[in-house]
Symmetry: C2
Subunit: 321 residues, 2 copies
């Protein structure tokens, strides 16, 4: 069994090449550009780990991992256009650098290239892998659409937001693991438990992300605290606060979201604390993490094979902040 770091190193080595033709450079250089600005490569490594949970890593897992990482970058290119984001990982986004029209096409060819890698998968698994990939790709697009819809909606319920996060973030992590499991010859039951492990882990990660934005230690977190609050982003915390604040506090929250006083972050955090959002969020994260581990537990392979996935979960989801 190999650790996340060991597999990451190998994946980086295999992924670090040009994935597109040389010409027209005006198109393909812009696709290749985003692959060169880094990334944690979590999803393809999860595919490799999903495979190794059940069997030695097959060559198909490298191709599917590559397709997954290309899909993730495709979604970043198009999402950055929709969000009008000027920067990603500290450098200009594809559309900022090459123009919106080329960025649309750069995403399109990235998505097509995913299927070049998926088409290399051996015939016995190809149909299943492409079906799961397609289902997931549609869900990620649905999540992005819901995220945009929610921005324009006054009220978003907890379950609506949870569904959106599940689609936009979690299902790709879950499917990465499950595609690996399919390649590793897992039974349908085991593959499904691994999917649920990834899905719950992904939601726990998003709860943590939302929590750290509000209550994280800026020195350890490395980001300005309250970025989501300043941007009026709907988060697990804000949605819970709006659903549970008293009448006066709810009115204050809503009015703070419409204005931008200099002490906005401080005032919103005060309401969050009064409502008990911080403890609630930590409890919510713990619940999702526990559900994730229940599914990992239920997979019928020896527990030493599960160690790298446990380590990954603990690396992604910290116990203290």
């Amino acid at each position: 069994m190999q650790s996340f770091e060991q597999l990451l190193q190998q994946f980086e080595k295999s992924f670090n090449k040009r994935h597109f033709p040389s010409e027209p450079a005006s198109l393909y250089d812009s696709s290749q550009y985003i692959l060169g600005i880094g990334g944690k490569r979590v999803r393809p490594v999860m595919c490799l780990m999903g495979n190794e949970l059940f069997d030695d890593i097959q060559s198909d897992a490298w191709d599917v991992g590559t397709a997954i990482e290309l899909f993730h970058n495709f979604s970043l290119i198009h999402d950055d256009i929709m969000d009008a984001a000027p920067l990603r990982r500290g450098v200009p986004t594809v559309h900022a650098n090459f123009g919106t029209n080329t960025a649309i096409l750069a995403g399109d060819v990235m998505l097509i290239m995913c299927y070049e890698y998926l088409n290399k998968v051996q015939a016995t698994h190809k149909g299943k892998i492409i079906a799961l990939f397609n289902k997931t790709a549609l869900e990620v697009s649905e999540g992005q659409q819901l995220d945009m819809d929610f921005e324009r909606r006054a009220h978003v319920s907890f379950s609506d937001y949870e569904k959106m996060i599940e689609l936009k973030t979690s299902v790709l992590l879950a499917a990465s693991l499950k595609m690996g499991a399919i390649i590793g010859g897992a039974s349908a039951g085991n593959a499904s438990h691994l999917y649920e492990f990834g899905r719950n882990l992904g939601i726990a990660f998003q709860v943590q992300d939302d929590y750290l934005d509000a209550f994280g230690d800026p020195e350890r977190f490395g980001k300005q605290v309250g970025g989501d609050i300043l941007a009026n982003k709907k988060t697990f915390l804000m949605i819970h606060a709006l659903e549970h604040a008293s009448g006066a506090e709810k009115d204050l929250l809503l009015s703070l979201m419409q204005t931008n006083p200099s002490d906005k972050v401080e005032k919103v955090l005060n309401i969050f604390r009064n409502v008990g959002v911080n403890e609630w969020a930590l409890k919510l994260k713990k619940e999702y993490l526990e559900k994730a581990f229940e599914h990992l537990e239920a997979i019928a392979v020896s527990s030493n094979r599960k160690a790298p996935l446990e380590q990954l979960a603990h690396f992604l989801i910290q116990r203290d902040h």
Copy 2:
């Protein structure tokens, strides 16, 4: 052997359904919208014809035809964004109706849905079909990028323009026929001749399109004459005129393209006539059509099987204007 019209009727019947989930409607209704505004469905019917040239039509041909038509509509949605086109077939484009962000996603899910249909193809043909589909999809994207690049370039050579048209327009027609041929069990040689038939036919069609814009009978053509000239579009005609006009005429052409006098179309057409662009274009169209028919001729099946494709070519490429 069935005629284009017979196959069209059957394809329309099978294609005329919702191809997307119901929710989120904000996303999928916008994808479904463009499928409901009509279209000639030439490409999927060419896939059926490519199949029937060699064998009875297999169920795979309907799925691949559906994927091809969805791909064509995907490219229309994204191209219309890039071209900032307000109308298509007399109704608002997807981005005009639903916003650019949703239109980007509506195209993305349309492209993903192509592979849902391709994934239904029987295992013996799936790898080959997906490979040709991917190659073609990349080429169509390259063609769109070159078209945008050429708009910003002062000089575009005949061969550059021909290459762009081949990628943007012809290869999808050619691949539609060839995918049908693969499903019909054609030999590699026959499939390749059929591809070349479609590729040359596609270029002949574009030459005719460019010709009709300048020299077509407006009553029979149904469009304003000179639309391309008014829009300063590079066309087969304009590129030939710029390459062959005398010094003074070339200067006049270039200055007409930078200004918009009320008699612009008339003046440009005069230069076209002086340079002999009209006869040249008809000759060029004829050459491509002849090449197309040479390849159709070379396919080793009885000539009565080829009759529907001959009729289609004569329907698409008129002898008189």
